[in-house]
Each structure stands twice: as structure tokens, then as C-alpha cells.
Homo-oligomer: 313 residues x 2
């Protein structure tokens, strides 16, 4: 089985773009007709929210499936719709796979030992019941938070190695205050550099080709371009997931250092700019059903113009 | 509305113990009759796992409800049973509340900005749909991971302040390799000391009584008793959640420094020793239905004998 790093590179080459669409639904931003229909059917309940997310996100997936290699579901928004929201999430993961997309679940999970293994089994591995092996969530990759150290990472690495799946470890996030922990420096290395070394070390051991990308990725924000340069060099076998493009202030040029000269090695996420471009500044709504492909094409062109991803074309 | 710190202290005083039961179900350790019944009804599916967890955990809750103030559900195990597992978790939270227990969800969630707010709304806050306000998960508190800095904590603090709920921030965890990140020291303070200062700073501003405990708690492992002494002093308004007792190697005496002289200020978690005491070393099963109260009483007595929690009696 190909590992996640290979599958991600293949998908980027096939779609000729490193654009990742972030599926971050927000009830109050959904098209009014969807909210009205959902409440008419289910009342003002989490079930209505879940139904709204299902209809909306399926349309997003159908619109972008031919354009981008990978989507990232932000689990928080589905969890905020209770267990019904998570049922819809699991259906959307299947829908995305059926449409030919790779799926990253952005859950920033983290724990140790057998509990970390339970998360790994849940999202990027499998569980055994009697003689049956099941993949409960069947994601291609999961985001993981590193505060617990290597014991919080290794159970995920084992699952990824066994199942051809991946993780993206938070290394340097895109929020202004991230440095308070991540940039602390001791004995010549900052916290985020130590996490980067941990990911690169674990990844190199799993990567089959010397210049390829392994199944262990890292999250490095577009809002810290000078860190992106340094961390890209520090993790040569590690595919990057770059958030912070667009609504959070990072430009396409800011993501440029994440790529190698072939245009591989990184995916760039955009959520709000693709999902909610139909919402006009005065609060009115433009037609929404075709807005997702239009917004995705705009991002794809922007990345192709201002980063090495243009060489994928 | 009383804040979570007050409600936690009240519950500890009412039950006269700081023992917390960790609800960490594992399919392969469930009583054989439960597994057989569940598979007979649902086949080898995640639905069978979810049903097994429901029957098992309801019994645990019913057995310990009169003995302890608070239970902690480990979300990873429920997530490993897919969306069905999370539906059962939400039902068990209600069941625990009906039985008079406080509920902590151990999800170690973390994100920034509006995504962190979505987690906060989901677990310790509320969401609005039209004119209706709903509490999707209705937990009393949630565990939170601090790698993203204050922007990853503040949205939770706002929800807690508004809803009388709490969080427990990971400060110093109980695993052997935790120090790789958490003990890194720069400019006179380690990473975990910085996180502790962050939690104490945010907590002091929310705490109404000068010697009371606020709604913001911290996770500090029993396996690092010297750190527990220092971190307890560093966070005088912060209730501690102490894992690592029992199966992970921490003794009751190791948790002692977490308490004030009244026996308040900390809860001590035990999961495996209470849930799976019916499993004998040779793989056989002792009767399980009454095992949970017996094991909980053993822990309660141990804490009363070797820590200031004895003064609660």
C-alpha cells in the first residue's frame, strides 16, 4: 500500500494544484433557504443544524471534487451540532471519498498510550470486533497536537504505517499568540523546532524514497513566512499543511517557501473564502450553489501564479 | 449561577471524597456476556461496540453515583466506536447528570479563534438556533490542550464564565516523555510553568472569593510529585485534575500535595482500577456488576488515609 505522503503527492499531481478546501460550516452563515428548510423539518434543534451542514457540505464537495486533491473537515463545527453533527460528518467523509477526494480530519487530537491509540484507531486506523476489522472514520489523515511529547505521537505513527494513512502535527500555528509556547527557545532550539525535529525524525524512518514525502505531515501557518522557510528546510520529508491563507491574512506568496521546486511538499488550506463567498458585505446573499467552484478556481490560480505550484500545470 | 470551581468544591464536600471515576471503556475488556449480547443484536459493527459501552457504563455510573462527586469520560474510546459511540456518550452524560454526578469530558480539545469557540460552545457552552439556545453536550467541564497559547484558551474561558462551566488545561501530564516539551526551560520558566501562570492568571480574574477555586482547572500528573508541589503553589485558585493514580504508578501519597489543608483543591482520577477490577490475572472474569462500587470504595479509603482528603470525612 502506498503511504499517505505518496498518495498526497499523486493527488496533487493529478489535480495540478496544492489547494485544500477547508470544510468549516457555520450555521449562521449558511444560505437562508437551507436554514429555513432544516428548521421547518426538524425545529430549532441540533438535528436541523446537522441537516443544514449535510446539504451545504455535499454541494461544496460536489463542486470542488474535480478541482482540488484534498479537503479538510474542521471537526469542531460538527461536534457543536452534537452526535447528529458527527453522524453527518461520517457520511460526508464517505461522500468525499466517493467523489475522489483525500480527506483530512482537523481534530487536533492528542493523548498518550492506549488513549492515543484509540484516537489513532478511530480516525486513521482500525478497530477489531470479533473477526471483523472496521475503520470507524476512515480518514486519510488527522491533525494531532504535540503537547504530550513523543508518547502522544508514536501511537499515531504506528497506525499510519500500518494503514497507509497520515497525520499533520501542529508545529507552528497561524495565530498571533502562538509564539508564547511555540517560539520559546531553550538550549539552542525553540519548542516548534523540537516538534519539527520529532516529526522529521519519525517520518524519515517511514519514508521509502530519499527525496519523497512520508506519511507524517506538519501544520505551519502562512502568517509566519520566515518560520515557514526555516521549518521547510528542517523537515525535508514532511508534507506541510499551511493554514492562514486568505481570511487569516496570509498571501499566496507567503506560502511559497513551503513548496519544493516541483511544486510539491505542501497543501494550502482555505475555508471561509471558498465556503462563504456568496455572502455579500451588506449581509445579502449572492447565488450560492455555483459559488464554491468559482472561489476554488480563484484560489488555484492565485497559488499557481505566486508559488512553485504553477509548475504542476 | 455558581461557577464550576464552587460546584466542584460543593460536590467534593457533599460526597466527602475527591475521587473521580474515569469512564474509559474498552471493547476487548468488557464482560463477555455484554459483548456476546451486543454482537448477537448488531453483528460485528461499531453499533455493537456502542451498545456494549452503553450498558456497561450505565452500570458503572449507577454503582458509583452515591460515592463520588465527578466522573470523567475519555472521549477517545467513544470516538473509536464512530458516530454511534458519540451518540451513546451524549446519552451517558445525561444519565450521569440524572444520577447527581458532575461530568468532565476528557477530549483535550484545542484550536484558535472561532474554531476554539465552536468547541467551547459544543462542550461547555451553548449554540443558538433561531430563538432557541441549546447545550449540545452539556458537560460541566472539558479538558483542553494548550499548545496554541492564550488564543487557544480564552474562547473556553469566555464560555465557562457565561455558563458556570469549567475547563482543565493540560499543564504537566503523567507520561514519562511529557517533559520533552513541558519541562523545557527558557528565561527562568519552563513551558509547563508558563501554562500554569496563564491558567492562574485567567482564573484569578474569574474567582469571586480570594481563597476559593475558580472555573479554570489544570491537569497535573500524580507521577511527578515534585512538580505537583510546585505547580499547586503556583496556581492557588486552580482546581487540579490529577491523573496517573493507580494503574499508571502514582500512589495516594503522591497526590497529597495537590490538596489544601481542608482536603479541597484537587480531584484524583482512576479509570482502569475501577472499571476492570473484575478481570482476573489469568484472563478469567469475577462477577462484574458490583465490582465498581467495591473498587471505588477502595480508592476512596486509600485517598482518605494518605492525603488531606481524610479531613473531608
Amino acid at each position: 500500500m502506498n503511504d499517505f505522503g505518496q498518495r498526497l503527492s499523486d493527488a496533487i499531481l493529478a489535480k495540478k494544484t496544492p489547494a485544500m478546501v477547508g470544510i468549516d460550516p457555520r450555521w449562521e452563515l449558511l444560505p437562508e433557504e437551507l436554514r429555513r428548510d432544516a428548521v421547518a423539518e426538524h425545529g430549532e434543534t441540533t438535528k436541523a443544524v446537522a441537516q443544514g451542514y449535510q446539504v451545504f457540505c455535499q454541494r461544496v464537495l460536489d463542486e470542488v471534487a474535480d478541482l482540488v486533491p484534498v479537503v479538510k473537515f474542521q471537526m469542531a463545527f460538527f461536534e457543536a451540532a452534537g452526535a447528529e453533527g458527527l453522524l453527518v460528518l461520517s457520511q460526508l467523509v464517505d461522500h468525499a471519498h466517493d467523489a475522489g477526494l483525500l480527506v483530512v480530519l482537523d481534530g487536533k487530537r492528542n493523548d498518550i498510550g492506549s488513549t492515543a491509540a484509540a484516537y489513532a484507531n478511530a480516525y486513521v486506523g482500525s478497530i477489531g470486533i470479533g473477526s471483523t476489522t472496521l475503520r470507524p472514520w476512515n480518514a486519510d489523515a488527522l491533525t494531532v497536537s504535540p503537547y504530550l511529547g513523543t508518547e502522544g505521537i508514536n501511537p499515531f505513527v504506528e497506525s499510519c504505517d500500518k494503514h497507509g494513512t497520515g497525520i499533520f502535527v501542529l508545529v507552528r500555528t497561524s495565530n498571533p499568540g502562538a509564539g508564547a509556547i511555540q517560539e520559546l527557545s531553550a538550549e539552542g532550539r525553540s519548542v516548534c523546532e523540537r516538534v519539527a525535529d520529532l516529526v522529521e525524525g519519525a517520518s524519515a524512518s517511514l519514508t521509502s524514497t530519499p527525496d519523497g514525502y512520508g506519511p507524517l505531515g506538519a501544520v505551519v501557518g502562512a502568517t509566519v513566512p520566515e518560520q515557514l522557510v526555516a521549518l521547510r528546510k528542517r523537515m525535508p520529508h514532511v508534507p506541510l499543511l499551511i493554514p492562514g491563507y486568505g481570511a487569516q491574512g496570509g498571501s499566496a506568496a507567503d506560502t511559497s517557501a513551503g513548496f519544493d521546486e516541483r511544486g510539491l511538499g505542501a497543501v494550502v488550506n482555505s475555508s471561509r473564502a471558498i465556503l462563504f463567498s456568496y455572502r455579500l458585505k451588506d449581509g445579502a446573499e449572492a447565488p450560492w450553489k455555483d459559488s464554491f467552484a468559482t472561489a476554488a478556481r480563484r484560489m488555484i490560480d492565485d497559488l499557481a501564479t505566486h508559488t512553485p505550484a504553477g509548475r504542476l500545470r
